[in-house]
């Protein structure tokens, strides 16, 4: 039996994104995820001059909220939304929350949705997160050295380097540029200048990954509002329009090892829906817990051909004034990885950039931004991919 042809995807009409909020990260925190989520929600409400009663919808992402989910959080925070979602998609959480919230707002199921990602990092919580991350990780990757995502990304990186002839210097270019961007971003935990020589001389963590290839786990929160343009205007909130989004899970499952991601299946749809092409971007935010995955995003999203990201990196500069400003706050590699908030970091930063609200690191003429997400090393590879294109006025 063959299914009827798919209908064309609807555009997002007057759905907008506003009120980008970052709660400054800390390396370790004695507080709970609830505390971080609560601070992010309060800050969003302060920025928008709203009260808790105005929270019409809420989307939550967190790794450290247990035993609670979004349900426990609404009672904890005293809000009564008529639309609630819990999005456990790690690094894809920001894009996916945005997609869900945008359609809810467009359909009238909720008029104003607050999207929050928050995680704490208590001294021993990272170990516990890894040990209980997923059924397959518990059974088939964690017992093999317990190296966490470092080890799985090391394997992907090892394969990718040999498969496509990529050198450590190629990854280093991305990391060094991001650190330069972080110097201008007040919330980055790692702001000390980094040279390519220092990058190459760093101690190995999981070969071929070295220290500056790996994110630093930390505590923090990110949030934003999704609503209709007239609501944002009534609140005098600078806002960005949502041109297009994509989402995919478990793509290319029969590939022996991950060397491409789900973006490759959906990028055509993304650019068609946005009615523009990669050359019209003013900046790009990739999900960068390790530089190899930024490379796969460049390839998957059509910024370059498959297997040619290293050459693409050699041909571009990625600083705020570069040929393609990339991870303009420093990305997770410099700001830190606050659990699921890492999946919001690029989106919130892109929103600040295209609404001219950057925190000291404004890219000139930033109007159109591509944000990409990548989530959940469930076993040997990342499962969730997504992307969104935002446009400011």
């Amino acid at each position: 039996m063959s299914l009827p042809a798919r209908i064309a995807r609807r555009r997002y009409d007057d759905v907008v994104i506003a009120a980008p909020v970052t709660i400054p990260y800390q390396r370790h925190s004695t507080q709970s995820a609830h505390w971080w989520a609560g601070r992010a929600l309060r800050r969003v409400l302060e920025v928008a001059r709203l009260s808790a009663a105005d929270v019409d919808g809420l989307a939550v992402s967190s790794f450290s909220l247990a035993p609670d989910s979004a349900v426990g959080l609404v009672q904890h925070l005293g809000v009564a939304p008529r639309w609630l979602d819990h999005i456990p998609m790690g690094g894809a959480s920001g894009v996916v929350a945005l997609r869900r919230a945008a359609r809810a707002v467009q359909a009238g199921d909720a008029d104003l949705v607050v999207c929050v990602a928050a995680d704490t990092n208590q001294v021993d919580s990272f170990r516990n997160t890894l040990a209980g991350f997923s059924r397959f990780a518990q059974d088939a990757s964690h017992p093999y050295g317990a190296g966490g995502p470092n080890a799985m990304f090391a394997l992907l990186t090892d394969h990718y380097m040999r498969r496509f002839g990529v050198q450590r210097e190629d990854f280093g270019r991305l990391c060094v540029a991001q650190r330069a961007n972080a110097a201008r971003f007040e919330h980055a935990l790692l702001r000390a200048p980094l040279t390519l020589e220092q990058y190459l001389a760093a101690r190995p963590v999981c070969d071929p990954l070295h220290l500056f290839d790996c994110v630093m786990p930390c505590a923090g929160a990110e949030a934003f509002i999704v609503t209709r343009a007239p609501v944002a205007a009534a609140l005098s909130l600078p806002a960005a329009r949502l041109l297009a989004t994509i989402e995919r899970h478990n793509a290319f499952a029969t590939d022996a090892i991950q060397e491409r991601g789900g973006w490759l299946l959906d990028a055509g749809e993304l650019w068609d829906m946005a009615q523009l092409g990669p050359r019209e971007l003013d900046l790009v935010q990739t999900y960068d817990d390790y530089p190899v995955i930024s490379m796969m995003q460049f390839e998957g999203l059509g910024l370059c051909a498959a297997g040619e990201a290293a050459q693409f990196v050699r041909n571009h500069t990625f600083t705020l004034d570069g040929t393609l400003p990339h991870n303009t706050s420093g990305g997770q590699l410099s700001v830190g990885q606050a659990g699921a908030a890492g999946g919001y970091l690029g989106l919130v930063e892109a929103l600040r950039q295209v609404t001219r609200a950057a925190l000291g690191n404004q890219v000139e003429r930033a109007r159109t931004a591509l944000v990409s997400g990548f989530g959940m090393i469930n076993y040997d590879r990342g499962i969730c991919t997504g992307a969104a294109i935002l446009r400011g006025d």
Binding site: A131, F136, A140, S141, P143, G145, A154, L156, A253, I257
Partner: protein, 402 residues
């Protein structure tokens, strides 16, 4: 208490433990479409059918990628860094993360084994496809085996050919020191001197006065050798014919249990704490307790009913020791054997098991890091019949089919 590697597993993953314990390579296979499942699933990834069963699958694979873990959140691995793992495309289809032998390089062919790790859980270990002479000496492989070379081993009962042959095989396998227990006078533990022939011609075999029926004497032994002890092999068999209609039935049961079960408990109480303490030091390999048991521990042979019951009880008690010593990182293993070719079984039909076969099985079990080895055709046949139909086997044994 020593740390152990991560031990949480799903039920589906735990089904691999049986194969790893016996040294077999088997993975869950879909009973409808034949797809091999890894990581273990509850539903087929190809056709969504829910009947998945463990089946032997090809052991080969290709090593796609390698990493050396130098930072870990786990204390057991931290004491053993750096640690190499790899991503292996199995010839049977799926991709698996595996521990690596030092000789495995990216891109090369490998052979996979299911091993028990220090927590007693099943893990995949990749070895070079081509065997080499020094392969067993690999640093990571030795974390999954109890290789006898260079280790200090106690064989509890030197009064039997089984004990003497076992000591000899371990000495020849390169054990640093093998103590062989010689029974003291005790009604439950047949007193016989360790004969010089076959054992003491090897300089690394030392007789040790040991009485499994005497807890106080055993404590003295443990004080003497416990600090260096790596492996205990309990060969006490306590064979006595007779069952329910024997005139001295109850006395026979009591004597069998004294020799086999109480003896094991006494030995475990004396030497168990030493092995557990030894396990805490990563400088030593994994300590082990190996018990030789009659296959009739698994199904009673009526004319040897007291003996069968005692071995069944000992096997149950070993399971208890496996859990409790296992928490400290000690391997508890069993060698299940059919009737031995010794004076006590001179009336038995062939095939009988030569004591040397059991001795070789003990060495092989330690070398491969297994938890269970079955020796001899009678024992293998009995287990196959048991798996097929326990009641049919019971009737067969009742009718005198061995």
């Amino acid at each position: 208490m020593s740390s152990l590697p991560p031990a949480a597993r799903s039920r589906a993953a735990r089904r691999l433990v049986g194969a790893a314990a016996r040294g077999r390579f088997a993975l869950p296979v879909c009973m409808r479409c034949g797809a091999v499942q890894y990581p273990p699933r509850d539903v087929c990834v190809r056709c969504l059918y829910e009947r998945l069963q463990l089946r032997a699958v090809p052991e080969g694979g290709t090593l796609l990628a390698v990493t050396t873990v130098r930072v870990t959140t786990d204390p057991w691995f931290r004491a053993r860094l750096p640690w190499r793992i790899g991503s292996v495309r199995l010839d049977s289809g799926p991709t698996a993360i595996a521990h690596l032998h030092g000789g495995c390089e990216a891109g090369a062919r490998v052979r996979l084994e299911l091993k028990l790790d220090r927590s007693g859980e099943a893990v995949l270990f990749a070895l070079p496809a081509v065997e080499t002479a020094t392969m067993q000496d690999d640093r990571q492989l030795r974390e999954f085996t109890q290789e006898p070379r260079g280790r200090n081993i106690l064989v509890t009962d030197g009064s039997s050919a089984l004990g003497r042959e076992t000591a000899r095989a371990l000495a020849l396998a390169g054990a640093r020191q093998v103590w062989v227990g010689s029974g003291q006078s005790s009604p439950a533990f047949a007193p016989r001197a360790v004969p010089s022939a076959g054992a003491t011609d090897l300089p690394n075999i030392m007789p040790l006065v040991l009485d499994a029926a005497d807890p106080r004497q055993l404590q003295q032994c443990a004080a003497q050798i416990g600090a260096e002890l790596d492996v205990v092999v309990n060969t006490a068999d306590g064979f006595r014919a007779g069952g329910g209609l024997s005139p001295d039935g109850a006395a026979l049961v009591r004597a069998s249990f004294e020799a086999v079960v109480v003896g094991l408990a006494n030995l475990a109480q004396a030497f168990g704490p030493a092995l557990c303490a030894r396990a805490a030091d990563p400088a030593h390999g994994m300590p082990a307790w190996v018990n030789v048991l009659s296959i009739y521990a698994c199904a009673s042979r009526p004319e040897w009913g007291a003996y069968s019951a005692a071995h069944a009880a000992a096997r149950s008690y070993l399971s208890c020791l496996r859990a409790q010593f296992g928490r400290a990182g000690v391997r508890v293993a069993e060698v299940l054997t059919g009737p031995l070719d010794d004076p006590a079984h001179s009336d038995q039909p062939p095939p009988l098991v030569r004591p040397g076969q059991v001795a070789a099985a003990v060495v092989e079990l330690l070398r491969a890091g297994r938890e269970e080895v079955v020796v001899g055709e009678v024992a293998q046949d009995l287990l196959a019949r048991l798996a097929d139909s326990p009641k049919a086997l019971e009737r067969e044994l009742a009718r005198g089919v061995p």
